[in-house]
């Protein structure tokens, strides 16, 4: 039995895991569910040895286990099939399967390709798939790559004399329904020889394949069920964790949008990403887009932000037809993009708070053609006060700030630049509850000032709670639109039905 007891892990400023206990028994498929940010991936990485816990222990068959890296874990028969597929696409299937273990096929430093290819075929035969082991991974479908990853994990059987534990991190997110059936059939047939941990946010799938299900929320395991004792809606409620506390999203501050149309997308599309998308955003309106990864909603924000030019349809910003080929053009049209990758795209971490605030528009602190450092400082101090940014001072480098305060600096920048349209791409990702509420407060204030806002978010709850209207997307198309004005918030289940 493989068990984790009292595991805690925090990253700078956030508690990713709090005192988590789980156990994985022999010949069992354990499901692990939770919303994005609930801590599933962090827990998996700890089980796989790629992250080390701050406290808590792992035990294998009662013996304490200290994993320093993935190789350590592999030595104990713990293998992981990664969410972002980890195959090296420029290598052949066989090379991938035995990556890092080639020594068993080498003599005098020369690799015996035939032996490695034959061994790879044997591995693939274990799961009953027929894939050319000399083909490059780049030529395989996602489903086939997943099978290769599974075969790769199964090579551990030969070097470890105990049943394997195989961690499957969101394996179905890129698979079609029939591929999922194939994967599940393989997992079931391998159950006699290995245990599996299956991570997903698709509840029906988890219930179908798992014997037991752990539910995670905000870094903790909040429930454990036998699969036959529980239903998907019941799990969903536990996973989301509460009825709608409307005040969490400052709903009483939700103002009524104005009549002026600020953004109008008509039959907008980007080849291969989304298609035939039409919507309007009025002044002061917050439009949320709900959809799973790959639904095309991320690309819509990138198109309006100027990163990804549309290939079809029209985009109008305040009565001017536009087609942006760079964010610079979008910024000129008073669009501000608040990215999910705050540390990469949001802020220049090594520049100061003041310098980041004037990054999009220096002209307001330029006097006679030169930057006026006194004015710039004054402007920054004003914003620090107004938004209650916690910082040692306007000259502190942004990397020294916590996530919530960094987010406020990004907002201050776009306000300084006079943005009238804000794109919020997962605005509260990685923030703790208090910081989230502050961001919600600010978003409400901005909306009341007449700023048009496009929102995509990690949780449906947040999307519904903040927005005036919610568009639902699936496979690159808008499948439904819901009114979410104050007092008329739709139910998550209604949205989910249109999403998947």
């Amino acid at each position: 039995m493989f068990a984790a007891n009292g595991i805690s892990k925090s990253f700078v400023g956030t508690h990713a895991l709090k005192n988590v206990d789980i156990e994985i028994r022999p010949n069992e498929v354990v499901g692990l569910i939770g919303e994005n940010g609930a801590g599933k991936s962090t827990l998996m990485r700890i089980l796989a040895g790629t992250h080390r816990p701050d406290s808590g222990t792992l035990t294998l068959d009662g013996q304490p286990l200290r994993l320093r890296n993935a190789r350590d874990a592999a030595g104990h028969g713990i293998g992981m099939v990664f969410q972002e597929q980890s195959l090296l696409l420029n290598m052949t299937v066989a090379e991938n399967i035995y990556l890092g273990q080639e020594h068993q096929f080498t003599r005098f430093g020369i690799l015996n390709w035939r032996a490695m290819n034959d061994a790879s075929r044997r591995q693939l035969a274990k799961i009953g798939v027929d894939i050319d082991v000399t083909a490059r991974a780049s030529g395989l479908t996602f489903a086939a790559r997943q099978m290769v990853e599974l075969a790769k994990a199964l090579t551990l059987e030969e070097s470890v004399d105990r049943p394997l534990v195989i961690l499957l991190d969101e394996p179905t997110s890129v698979l079609s329904a029939s591929d999922i059936d194939v994967l599940f059939a393989r997992v079931k047939s391998l159950k006699s020889r290995a245990s599996f941990v299956f991570v997903s946010h698709r509840l029906e799938e988890v219930l179908r394949i798992s014997d037991r299900v752990y539910t995670m929320k905000d870094g903790a395991v909040v429930a454990e069920h036998r699969s036959q004792d529980v239903t998907a809606p019941a799990l969903h409620e536990i996973m989301v964790g509460r009825g709608l506390h409307t005040e969490h999203y400052k709903e009483s501050k939700q103002s009524v949008p104005r009549s002026e149309v600020i953004v109008e997308a008509s039959k907008l599309g980007v080849a291969g990403a989304f298609h035939d998308v039409s919507f309007k955003i009025h002044a002061g309106e917050i439009i949320g887009i709900a959809g799973v990864v790959g639904s095309g909603r991320e690309e819509i924000t990138r198109t309006i932000g100027g990163f990804l030019p549309q290939t079809e349809g029209a985009l109008r910003i305040k009565d001017a037809s536009v087609r942006f080929t760079s964010p610079e053009q979008a910024v000129r049209k008073s669009i501000g993009y608040i990215p999910r990758e705050r540390r990469v795209e949001g802020l220049v971490m090594f520049l100061s708070v003041a310098e980041n605030i004037t990054l999009a528009d220096l002209s307001c602190v330029m006097r006679g053609g030169a930057i006026n450092y006194k004015e710039e400082r004054k402007l920054a101090v004003d914003w620090i006060k107004k938004l209650r940014i916690k910082t040692p001072g306007p000259d502190a480098a942004c990397r020294k700030l916590s996530g919530g305060n960094q987010q406020k600096v990004v907002l201050a920048r776009w306000m300084t630049a006079g943005s009238q349209i804000l794109i919020l791409d997962h605005p509260t990702r990685g923030l703790d509850v208090g910081a989230k509420e502050e961001v919600y407060d600010l978003v409400r204030d901005l909306s009341a000032q007449g700023i048009a806002i496009l929102l995509i978010s990690d949780t449906l709850d947040e999307t519904i709670g903040l927005s005036h209207r919610v568009l639902v997307m699936r496979d690159g198309e808008v499948t439904a639109e819901f009114d979410a004005s104050r007092g008329n918030k739709p139910d998550q289940v209604e949205l989910l039905r249109e999403m998947v």
């Binding site: 990215p339 795209e345 090594f350 520049l351 990054l359 030169a370």
Partner: protein, 322 residues
């Protein structure tokens, strides 16, 4: 193990904060003073500064490129080409040869920038290649030989070798270039934007900064300053040659890094490069004193550059060094 790592991170921190290079310079000056009292006064000081001037101008140009996170390996070729153009045109054009030679540097700087930005070629490859092209053109123009600036041409270059109130004009030129570059970096939109691009290009791009233009301007400045360094050198040596500046690339880049500008971009400036150039110059003099073979100088500069980068590079910023 742990201790040496801490020591390194401490050094890299304070080095990058800019405290160590001036201290190092001060130590070097004291050593020279003790070893040879009075060396750093009067004529020998003027000579030292004049010798530093060309290196400093070259290094200032490449500072702009390093700040945006790139590198310019074409500067020595551009400087040499400018010297050749100057030497060839002086007899017929007189003083007008100067702007022509410098404009050539501007053109090739822009070319490097355009190749890097539009064709998405990494800057070290782009400038290695344009540097090759430029060096070839210099050889071609000069027919492979050094061109002596004859008596007639020297009338137009003598002002560079003059002194004003005891200060060599070359030093004044270097001070002028340094001051303009310093002010430009600190107070202009371009200066701020180049720091942002160097420190966090994706964020700068997302904030609406024209990253491509900023980069091309940095390369254009580098080329222009390289050409200025080339004509000053040609005037001092009364000769233009396709290999005139060949030994200057390594010391120039070493000066920038030793001065405390981060090789990864986004942090540093012209003041630091001035300190770095002086350090390199004094080290060079020190080597002559100690009796290091003049041909072995670049052995030392190479080692100094490696040491400076190894000590100062911020490994938390880059996971994989390619």
């Amino acid at each position: 193990m742990k201790n040496s790592f801490d020591f390194r991170s401490m050094i890299s921190n304070s080095w990058v904060q800019g405290a160590i290079p001036p201290a190092l310079l001060a130590v070097l000056i004291i050593i020279v003073e003790i070893g040879s009292p009075g060396f750093l006064t009067g004529e020998t000081l003027a000579l030292l500064l004049s010798n530093t001037a060309v290196l400093f101008i070259l290094a200032t140009g490449v500072t702009f490129v390093i700040l945006i996170g790139g590198i310019d390996l074409s500067i020595q070729a551009v400087a040499s080409l400018a010297s050749v153009i100057l030497a060839q045109l002086l007899p017929s054009m007189g003083l007008l040869a100067f702007p022509v030679a410098i404009a050539a540097g501007l053109v090739f700087g822009i070319l490097s920038g355009v190749v890097h930005v539009w064709l998405r070629v990494p800057s070290f490859v782009a400038t290695l290649a344009t540097g090759g092209v430029v060096a070839g053109m210099a050889l071609w123009l000069a027919n492979g030989r050094a061109i002596t600036i004859e008596e007639g041409g020297r009338a137009s270059t003598s002002w560079i070798n003059a002194t004003i109130v005891g200060t060599p004009v070359v030093v004044l030129i270097a001070i002028g270039v340094g001051l303009a570059s310093y002010l430009g970096l600190r107070y202009s939109r371009f200066g701020r934007q180049s720091l942002a691009v160097g420190a966090g290009e994706p964020a700068a791009y997302a904030a609406g900064i024209n990253v491509d233009r900023t980069k091309i301007v940095a390369f254009a400045l580098s080329g222009t300053l390289a050409a200025i360094a080339g004509v000053v050198l040609a005037a001092r040596l009364s000769s233009g040659s396709p290999s005139l500046a060949n030994q200057l690339l390594l010391p120039a880049i070493a000066a920038v890094i030793v001065g405390g500008t981060a090789i990864t971009g986004g942090l540093g400036g012209v003041g630091r490069t001035a300190v770095g150039a002086l350090i390199i110059s004094i080290v060079r003099i020190g080597m002559t004193f100690v009796g290091v073979n003049i041909f072995a100088e670049n052995v030392v500069f190479g080692a100094v550059l490696i040491a400076a980068v190894a000590i100062t590079i911020d490994r938390s910023k880059i996971a994989i060094i390619k």
